[in-house]
């Protein structure tokens, strides 16, 4: 195969082969994470800018660790510390970054399309660290990796994603990635958070979690933005939790040793009960570790070698 992508913006423009190559490359990265000395010379002299317009300590830290373990230098451009708050446009910020000759920009932004915009503007590689409600491809890849690690081949596995689907970039990217890998995906949520237009994905939409659980190999809860209650999207946290909250008891309905995922940060007792989050079925901490491995793989693939033939 050939490795062509300059950027990672979403999973819809990656081939299944490319996704598999990323997951494959994350395996040796995962091994490196378990070493006492987690430092490689691979990307010595390469620079990575972390451009975060939304505060997200976990994602930023994950990217930062990944880049540093591979030996790259990282620079943080975060909201509180730079001209972002002085109203400089993303375009000018991009041009500034360009002028610093960086190799890779990881961008997190509250506007859908911000990563695509940067990729269009910059010569450097761009990784989408989450843009608006559009995409969060590294989260989806780390989820795929975690599923593969725990239950093997994704093909034919039943995956239920439950929560605030319409506002979730995690749900979108995961739905696309899981579909490409051959999983049988069902999206579940109340009609206000899972409106009919989500049918564009061509997968099953359901409002009834209990009906969808039987047979599920993986159940993924999404973070519920509690302020959405004030906008009238759901009547109360109590009712949401009753209808769509995951718990040890509820997950028994799958009839399987189902694995439970959550992209974090969790609202314990809302979308997921503590008993389940801390149970053996939960892979939530694994997701975090695997996040670093996946991001190492991506950084290596985008700026580690050429964009030509993949050679063994």
């Amino acid at each position: 195969m050939k490795w062509k992508p300059k950027d990672l913006l979403d999973l819809d423009n990656l081939t299944t082969e490319e996704i598999e190559h990323i997951l494959q490359t994350a395996k040796p990265m995962r091994e490196i994470l378990s070493r006492p000395i987690k430092k490689l010379p691979t990307l010595r002299g390469k620079s990575v800018v972390l451009l975060f317009y939304e505060s997200s300590t976990r994602t930023r830290t994950s990217f930062e660790s990944a880049a540093k373990i591979l030996g790259a230098d990282t620079t943080n451009f975060t909201v509180a510390q730079s001209s972002i708050t002085k109203g400089e446009s993303l375009l000018d910020t991009a041009k500034t970054i360009q002028a610093m000759n960086v190799d890779l920009v990881v961008v997190r932004h509250s506007s859908s399309g911000a990563a695509d915009f940067l990729a269009d503007t910059l010569k450097a590689s761009v990784i989408n660290g989450g843009d608006g409600q559009h995409a969060h491809p590294t989260q989806a890849l780390l989820d795929l990796f975690t599923i593969q690690e725990r239950i093997g081949d994704i093909k034919g596995k039943k995956v239920v994603i439950v929560g605030d689907i319409i506002h979730s970039r995690v749900a979108r990217s995961n739905a696309i990635g899981l579909q490409k890998m051959g999983a049988d995906v069902t999206l579940v949520g109340p009609p206000t958070l899972l409106p009919t237009e989500m049918s564009y994905l061509g997968i099953k939409l359901s409002h009834d979690l209990d009906k969808e659980l039987p047979g599920a190999d993986v159940v993924m809860a999404l973070r519920l933005q509690l302020e959405r209650q004030q906008s009238g999207l759901f009547p109360s946290i109590r009712e949401y939790s009753k209808l769509y909250g995951l718990s040890v008891d509820r997950i028994k309905k799958t009839g399987k040793q189902t694995i439970v995922m959550h992209p974090g940060p969790m609202n314990r007792g809302v979308e997921i009960a503590s008993d389940l989050a801390d149970s053996v079925q939960s892979v939530i901490e694994k997701q975090v570790t695997n996040g670093v491995a996946i991001r190492m793989a991506l950084i290596y693939l985008l700026i580690g070698g050429g964009t030509g033939n993949v050679v063994d």
Partner: protein
């Protein structure tokens, strides 16, 4: 003195549609008729030497009454970096528009007679397309107090609109429709329920869901169209619905016309040419309000034009600077630059494909606007102002900011070739554009 020969005259105002000669003396049309002889022309124009008459061969070309665009944003006063009255009215001439109606969302807002008169003065200084100011309905676009409609009308405004913003308070809209009767002008309604539109940036649907862009539901427009129709019916005020973009709106307007309610409606060319499916995250020139419709809506809009439910085409020319549009899709301003591309785009996409006749185009873009807003033009009847467009259906041009007269280049047609352009534009008998260049 002007003699245009063998040109296909399209003038639904007098039921003319075919190859004719057209005679113009000073600023007026003298006659439209089948191939005149030189001797006849001398007599009709009252001259002795044929060399005094400028003769133009119109073979293979069309002659339209000058197009009238009832919906443009000229940005002056206040945002002259995007456009000003001079550049906008030059762009109009280059696009085949001899009269344009300028919306009130400038800085300051057009809510006093002084601003209306300023706009008219600037337009006169520019000496290009005639510019008719539209005044705000409410002071400062706040949706609370009505403007001094009579004084402003006396200053030269031909309609009232808070375009750019919908009037949210139904009672204010009702009062406006009542009071506007004093002026005889229409209220032009920008139909948008702000709570429904919320932070949306494109039509809500499968594409917005896919792109993860906040959606504006079709109902955001349609509920306001329904409200305004009922208020117009109740008050008897004259209503014009701006930029109709949903099938429900079309259906309700059709119903209202059946009931004899005094209303008219316009559609923007971009709503007839693009759909929400054309939107990509990186091309903000497709970001427009009301947002690009679904395919179903688009079909209903065209049907509305054909059956007369929709009266007019209007560009909603909304220039924005490159910097403003060079932002992520969610952050860029709404608006498409339309004056210099719309006629070609409509010709190529709708007339050439047989969806729209040239007669319908002229009716919607010249005759109906003149009649509805009571302004001059709209026809080539003898005695009318010689506002005319010579249109070459074969002329091809690649759209470029260098060639454009507008200060802004926010059009999805940039760097694309279109076919069918005006090659001469006359206002009141004066040739202002020839071979795609302002004279």
């Amino acid at each position: 003195m002007l003699w245009i020969k063998n040109v296909t005259v399209i003038d639904p105002g007098q039921g003319v549609s075919g190859v004719n000669d057209v005679l113009v003396q000073k600023d007026k049309i003298v006659e439209v008729g089948p191939s005149f002889k030189a001797k006849e022309v001398l007599v009709k124009l009252g001259v002795t030497d044929i060399n005094e008459v400028n003769q133009i061969d119109g073979d293979g070309k069309y002659l339209f009454p000058g197009l009238i665009d009832v919906h443009v944003h000229l940005r002056e006063p206040g945002q002259e970096d995007k456009e000003d009255i001079a550049s906008g009215s030059r762009a109009a001439i280059r696009g085949g528009f001899t009269s344009i109606m300028a919306m009130a969302n400038t800085f300051p807002i057009v809510d006093q007679r002084a601003v209306v008169e300023f706009i008219k003065l600037q337009a006169r200084r520019a000496g290009m397309a005639r510019v008719y100011p539209i005044s705000a309905v409410t002071k400062g676009f706040k949706g609370q107090e009505l403007v001094e409609m009579m004084d402003i009308k006396d200053g030269g405004a031909v309609g009232f609109s808070d375009d750019g913003k919908g009037i949210q308070n139904a009672e204010i809209m009702r009062l406006a429709l009542e009071y506007v009767k004093l002026t005889g002008c229409p209220i032009i309604s920008h139909c948008e329920d702000e709570a429904l539109a919320s932070k949306g940036v494109m039509r809500r649907g499968r594409t917005s869901a896919r792109l993860g862009l906040p959606g504006i539901p079709a109902s955001s427009e349609s509920v306001m169209v329904a409200r305004d129709i009922l208020l117009a019916a109740e008050t008897g005020g004259k209503l014009h619905i701006a930029h109709v973009s949903t099938k429900e709106s079309v259906e309700m307007i059709r119903w209202a016309k059946g009931k004899g309610i005094d209303l008219s409606a316009e559609v923007n060319p971009h709503h007839l040419i693009f759909t929400d499916e054309d939107i990509t995250l990186t091309d903000t020139s497709y970001k427009v309000n009301p947002p690009l419709p679904s395919r179903e809506d688009q079909e209903a809009l065209l049907e509305g034009i054909i059956d007369g439910t929709i009266d007019m085409l209007a560009t909603d020319h909304a220039p924005h600077t490159w910097e403003e549009k060079a932002r992520p899709f969610q952050e860029a301003p709404f608006g498409i630059n339309g004056l210099e591309t719309s006629l070609a785009a409509v010709w190529q996409k709708l007339v050439q494909s047989g969806k729209l006749t040239p007669e319908k185009l002229v009716e919607c873009w010249s005759l109906n606007p003149a009649q509805r807003f009571g302004i001059e033009g709209g026809t080539l009847k003898p005695g009318s102002l010689a506002d005319m467009v010579l249109f070459d259906p074969l002329y091809k041009e690649e759209i470029s900011t260098e060639a454009m007269e507008s200060k802004s280049g926010n059009t999805p047609f940039l760097k694309k070739e279109l076919q069918g352009f005006p090659v001469i534009t006359w206002v009141e008998g004066r040739m202002l554009m020839k071979n795609r260049k302002i004279i």
